[in-house]
Symmetry: C2
Subunit: 261 residues, 2 copies
DNA sequence: CGCACTATTGAGCACTCTCAAATATTGTGG
DNA sequence: CCACAATATTTGAGAGTGCTCAATAGTGCG
């Protein structure tokens, strides 16, 4: 059932047919959320992992005066919390950005699966490394780039991640965000996000209408953003090098640059 | 030998005497670095974990035009890379901020230790969760706080982390950073960092001279920063609740507020 | 068809930046 | 131990990126 997650894990770590079957059987139940509903609350005690099946969600933090920071986007195949220690407590909340379907997997079941299959363990670990790498990249993105670069960088990342789970073709993908969301993600006001987007549109770098994002020339946007995609793939590069003729991330990058620009 | 690391792991997960002994025996060799030397280079293939024994280091990223972002500080007991998958490739560099002594541990040895002792595995996992929580907090810090709040928040975190490894007393600790480093950490120019520090000093919130930081009234600084320390401890809260009468992080927080302000 | 939410525009302000120079501080060689 | 060099901090001034407030236009949903 958690189709995108299995695909992602298989992609980076290589899973056997029985591994994939094992993962498919873990799903306890499937839950729906509408846009703006909270999926996980900060401070709650978790004994399960929530996996996004369809739709978008975000992880966010809030301080007393209402200011909010989105610290991650979750797209199909992403997990809302870390599958490593149970029970656990998150120090962030997760909210649906569009209507979302979620699979719940018992934490202990994941740990058992990881014990039974080293490939599965490795796959989850690599996924965690990538998640951490993305978080570091976001810190750097907000800290050192200008408004234009920040937004460009975020959009580059989103398209590649959507591609990786088969949800973006030719630099097109859905982007169910408001400009306010974007602002809370990259540390800019809504008004400034709006003006920056107009700037990017005027430069012919993006199209974004009715929740549909198009990047006509990926290389151009990448240059604006100083975007280096390796953080999305490299955690698993060595692993792939050992198992495949060439690093798989290279194939992805080459495919990206061929298809996207 | 990795005394601070063992202390930290024991603190959050609880290790037996034999666990601690096992960890002590893992150290392969010890290396020195002077300030400004690079300890790990972005893109290098790693088969070992580097643990800070003494001194400070930082993880950073750089883009072509020279702009640099510090994405983490490493203090005694911290690891320069993740002990989960080997060989691995980091997408950040690590540099010594002061003279640093580093223990090198073979990645496979750590994995073996984790296999042999569930407590050790759990301890490393909790440490990873905390590291990830800190990274998220940094993203939020840069994204939603003003200059004054950002710096105050960072200093709050540093003092508590130093306390946790026994290197801060009464709100005092060494802070071997330049104002330029600070700026590259929180996304501000050096000049503005300087003025913001003067502001904090004038408000009586901090003293910082000759690499020695003093926070006379921790609660006051915490309020300025909207600082909530739970992210530093809560990953292990449940674990502690199961093993100790009360959540250990609570004791730490109470101790902090008593001692620090 | 109208309400609510989202996007856009305008105008003025301010937080933060850059450039440039002066002053401390730290480290080093004589 | 002092003098000098190098590094770090501080100050001034002007500019700019990005913010706030406020109002207008679209868009989507019931």
């Amino acid at each position: 059932m958690p189709h995108h997650l299995i695909r992602k894990l298989d992609h980076s770590a290589g899973l056997s047919a029985s591994d994939r079957e094992l993962l498919r059987c873990l799903v306890r139940d499937v839950v729906w959320f509408r846009a703006d509903q909270d999926i996980l609350d900060e401070g709650a005690t978790l004994r399960q992992v929530s996996v996004i099946l369809d739709g978008w969600a975000c992880c966010y933090k809030q301080i007393e005066d209402g200011r909010r920071q989105i610290i991650a986007y979750l797209i199909p195949g992403d997990m809302c919390n870390t599958p490593l220690v149970f029970p656990s407590v998150n120090n962030y909340s997760v909210r649906a950005l569009a209507s979302v379907r979620i699979a719940r997997i018992d934490g202990q079941d994941i740990l058992s699966a990881m014990e039974r299959s080293p490939s599965i363990a490795r796959a989850f670990w690599l996924d965690m490394l990538t998640t951490a790498a993305i978080q570091r990249e976001w810190t750097a993105n907000i800290g050192l780039r200008t408004a234009r670069e920040r937004i460009a960088h975020l959009l580059c990342e989103i398209v590649l991640r959507m591609r990786a789970v088969g949800l973006a073709e030719q630099g097109n993908c859905v982007l169910p965000l408001t400009q306010e969301d974007l602002g809370e993600t990259v540390g800019l006001s809504t008004v400034h996000v709006n003006r920056t987007l107009q700037d990017l549109r005027a430069s012919g770098l993006i199209t974004w209408k009715r929740q549909k994002l198009t990047i006509p020339d990926f290389a151009a946007l990448r240059n604006v953003a100083h975007f280096d995609s390796s953080y999305l793939y490299r955690a698993g590069m060595i692993a792939d090098a050992n198992r495949a003729p060439a690093g798989q991330h290279l194939a992805i990058e080459i495919a990206s640059s061929r298809v996207l620009g």
